[in-house]
């Protein structure tokens, strides 16, 4: 879980940590993000800031209005182009040390599933969250930001009630790990809400249902 104190300070869409940039997509709702490393930006994300189930957002300006396209990390993948090769050979003797640039090609890819959209306010918070499918396509190189818990909570609160209306699409995209992504999201929301919030119990029921269905599907029960 992320550090509570940093979130409170960064509940502003402009001061969020950059996680990475989009490199490709598998479908309209399923994008592949290359996670930033030390050399890619000033402040690369900490491991806890790009963990499984971490909500993220991408800023998009459509017809003059700034929107945040919300997503979640549902999968990660390590890429090492050298893996399985015997490694580069020295062709000449005069070069004692061989340091090719592609050593940096080792990278971490994160799968991001889109959840919905929201409008970015003047005060750099979000309003009008909707869990309907985003219509806009993201671009390669679009920056993906870490979404602080405060914004996550406001994205999930519609008319005072917690909603995860994207749940069916997310399960579809996340496939085998669908239940785990949802449970991770619920955990995060629960930690943001006060203990006595009535939504806590609703989240319990939802979590129970999701886990039960996953157990059933996997043949545990």
């Amino acid at each position: 879980m992320t550090d509570q104190t940093t979130e409170m300070e960064t509940a502003n869409v402009d001061s969020c940590v950059q996680i990475g940039s989009i490199v490709s997509s598998n479908s309209h709702l399923d994008y592949v993000v290359e996670v930033y490393k030390d050399r890619d930006c000033e402040r690369p994300p900490k491991l806890s800031e790009r963990e499984f189930g971490q909500p993220v957002f991408i800023k998009k300006t459509i017809d003059g209005t700034e929107h945040a396209v919300m997503g979640v990390i549902y999968d990660t993948q390590l890429v090492d182009p050298d893996q399985g090769r015997t490694g580069p050979r020295l062709a000449q003797d005069d070069q004692a040390q061989f340091t090719p640039g592609y050593i940096e090609e080792r990278t971490t890819l994160a799968g991001v599933a889109l959840l919905g959209t929201a409008t970015v306010n003047e005060d750099r918070t979000i309003t009008d969250p909707t869990h309907r499918m985003p219509r806009w396509t993201l671009e390669v190189d679009d920056t993906v930001y870490h979404c602080p818990d405060e914004i996550t909570a406001s994205f999930h609160t519609i008319d005072g009630q917690i909603q995860l209306a994207y749940i069916d699409r997310l399960v579809d995209i996340a496939g085998d790990l669908g239940a785990e992504v949802i449970v991770a999201l619920i955990d995060r929301l629960r930690s943001v809400l006060p203990n006595e919030d009535p939504n806590q119990r609703v989240l319990d029921v939802v979590e129970q249902n999701v886990e039960w269905q996953a157990h059933e599907r996997r043949g545990v029960v």
Binding site: H131, Q161, I162, Q163, L164, A165, Y166, I167, D168, P198, N199, R201, V202, L203, D204, V205, V206, Q208, N209, W212, Q213
Partner: protein, 547 residues
């Protein structure tokens, strides 16, 4: 569809039984089981409204049970959280059984032998049509103003409809001639229902001649009908309610048959039976109908000699059982013209008589009435020149399965033959399994109320032909005042709520708690005694020495 209400569902296809079909309704159409629905079908080139009864209802689409995991969290909240729409999502799959269309020529239902096509729209059967076609009223249109008909009994309204929306009027003639059975557990309102029927039969449009055999004195409030506005008619008619108390109930000895006498004697030997039947027969052949035990004994002695041991033993038995019983009298008889009259309801209060005497007086009265009705129909002189309807509270007492009641024979005769002679019986009982099956199965109209006992349910199943499985299933779930009317008076069984009585209701359980408190208070008010009174006339009943 003229006269039809809004569409409430759509036919999905045929069901399991040949007369069954399945239809689907959304949640905003609250259709209960037992509801009557209708659809149009073309029979012989003519469009007919076919009636069907809803028999089952199951949810085919609704929120999963997992959403109900926390009782504090409503399933709609969980659904809203997950973005599942909750408005009108439930879909119900209903099963309905075709009753038929109302054939105005045959004046009953005819089965079209054809299930509705998938997609056929269904609507709730209109109240007016149901009022016309459910009871066996013989109307020649599908929608008749049934309250205008003569000789109908407004017994209540359909249970599934709002109060007094679909009123059920059953034809009095039908149940009064082919007999009636009111079967219900104690406290579910059988004497209440009977009183409602009595009220209806005593109204100016029917003016029945009624006889109520009341072993518990439950019908003492019927007298309110006299002078009650709704029973009065411009021509001066007013129902007459006559109470016959046990002292006035008497049986002339000559009316007893040899079988009745045998039933009340203590173990007569074969020889005694022989002696008695010979003497009894010769007494019955005499002109005089006013002979007593003394005359019988004289006859017996003259026939078998004064010293015959059996005659002596018989004399002791006859004097004990007949002469010392106030019920029997050499001369007095209950005058039929006093108890039977059109527009008169006579309640025979038998609460102080023992069971055997109740059976005997019933036997003799029924036999006499039956004879008079027979004479009347055959064109002979008769004391009873109009049809009679007799109602038996605690019917299992008079026609028991065990078969040892003297009244059973005549009850069997009347239930099987009475129709031809205008003599109808109504049996009221809380133990259908204890009623003679021949008698019960001859009761053409049945009003069944709550019955939980499996033996009694079984008895109804066996003897009540018209009661279908779906109707019997309802029996344990009925609450007091709810009834299933089936049989000759109905074209199809219907679940009804019995209407409130016009007069006060007298029966019902004793208010035990109040009585106890009253009795306790009364005791408290008595002066306290330092010593308890000795009623033992001096003999001590206390602990005695065993020495």
């Amino acid at each position: 569809m003229p006269g039809h209400e809004e569409v409430i569902g759509t036919v999905a296809g045929p069901g399991e039984d040949p007369n069954e079909f399945i239809f689907v309704t959304p949640a905003d159409q609250p259709i209960k089981t037992g509801e009557f629905i209708t659809y149009d079908v073309t029979v012989d080139g003519e469009s007919r409204s076919v009636f069907a009864r809803v028999t089952n209802r199951e949810l085919i689409r609704g929120l999963p049970e997992g959403f109900l995991a926390d009782p504090e969290v409503g399933p709609e909240t969980v659904a809203a959280t997950l973005g599942v729409p909750t408005d009108d999502t439930e879909l119900y799959r209903m099963t309905a059984t075709v009753i038929g269309f109302y054939n105005t020529n045959m004046e009953t239902f005819a089965n079209p032998r054809q299930l509705p096509d998938p997609g056929t729209p269904l609507s709730i059967a209109p109240d007016g049509q149901l009022e016309t076609v459910l009871p066996n009223l013989g109307c020649d249109t599908v929608e008749t103003e049934v309250t205008q008909l003569d000789g109908v009994a407004h017994i209540g309204w359909l249970l599934n409809r709002p109060e007094r929306a679909t009123n059920i009027h059953i034809p009095i003639e039908e149940f009064a001639s082919t007999h009636l059975a009111i079967l219900a557990a104690t406290g579910s309102g059988k004497s209440y229902t009977a009183s409602v029927l009595i009220e209806e039969m005593m109204r100016p449009t029917s003016r029945a001649s009624l006889l109520v055999f009341d072993p518990h004195g439950e019908y003492d409030t019927l007298a309110e009908m006299q002078g009650h506005e709704s029973f009065r008619e411009e021509d001066g008619y007013e129902p007459d309610v006559v109470y016959y108390d046990p002292e006035r109930l008497q049986v002339r000895i000559s009316e007893l048959e040899i079988g009745d006498v045998m039933a009340i004697l203590d173990n007569p030997s074969n020889r005694m039976q022989d002696r008695l039947s010979t003497a009894w027969r010769s007494m019955q052949n005499q002109e005089s109908e006013t002979w007593g035990i003394d005359d019988l004994m004289t006859e017996m002695r003259s026939e078998f000699g004064g010293n015959d041991a059996s005659v002596g033993a018989l004399e002791w038995r006859l004097r004990r059982s007949i002469q010392r019983n106030d019920l029997f009298d050499p001369e007095e008889n209950v005058p039929l013209d006093e108890i039977i009259d059109p527009g008169q309801c006579t309640v025979l209060q038998m609460d102080t008589l023992d069971r055997r005497d109740q059976q005997l007086i019933t036997t003799v009265l029924l036999r006499r009435l039956y004879r008079e009705r027979l004479n009347d129909v055959r064109g002979r002189e008769s004391e009873v020149e109009h049809p009679v309807f007799a109602l038996f509270e605690e019917g299992h007492r008079f026609a028991p399965t065990s078969g040892d009641a003297p009244s059973l024979g005549i009850m069997r005769t009347i239930t099987s033959e009475g129709r031809k002679f205008g003599f109808g019986l109504g049996i009221i009982s809380q133990r259908p399994s204890k009623i003679d099956q021949d008698v019960l199965s001859q009761c053409g109209t049945q009003i069944s109320m709550k019955i939980r006992n499996p033996n009694d349910q079984d008895a109804i199943k066996k003897s009540v032909e018209a009661a279908g499985e779906d109707v019997l299933r309802e029996l344990p779930g009925l609450t007091p005042g709810q009834a299933i009317v089936s049989g000759d008076a109905m074209n199809t069984p219907a679940l009804i709520q019995v209407r409130p009585r016009r007069t006060e209701h007298g029966a019902g359980s004793l208010d035990v708690i109040d009585k106890w408190r009253e009795a306790y208070d009364a005791r408290q008010r008595e002066p306290t005694r330092s010593e308890s009174a000795d009623f033992g006339e001096g003999d001590s009943t206390g602990v005695q020495s065993l020495d």
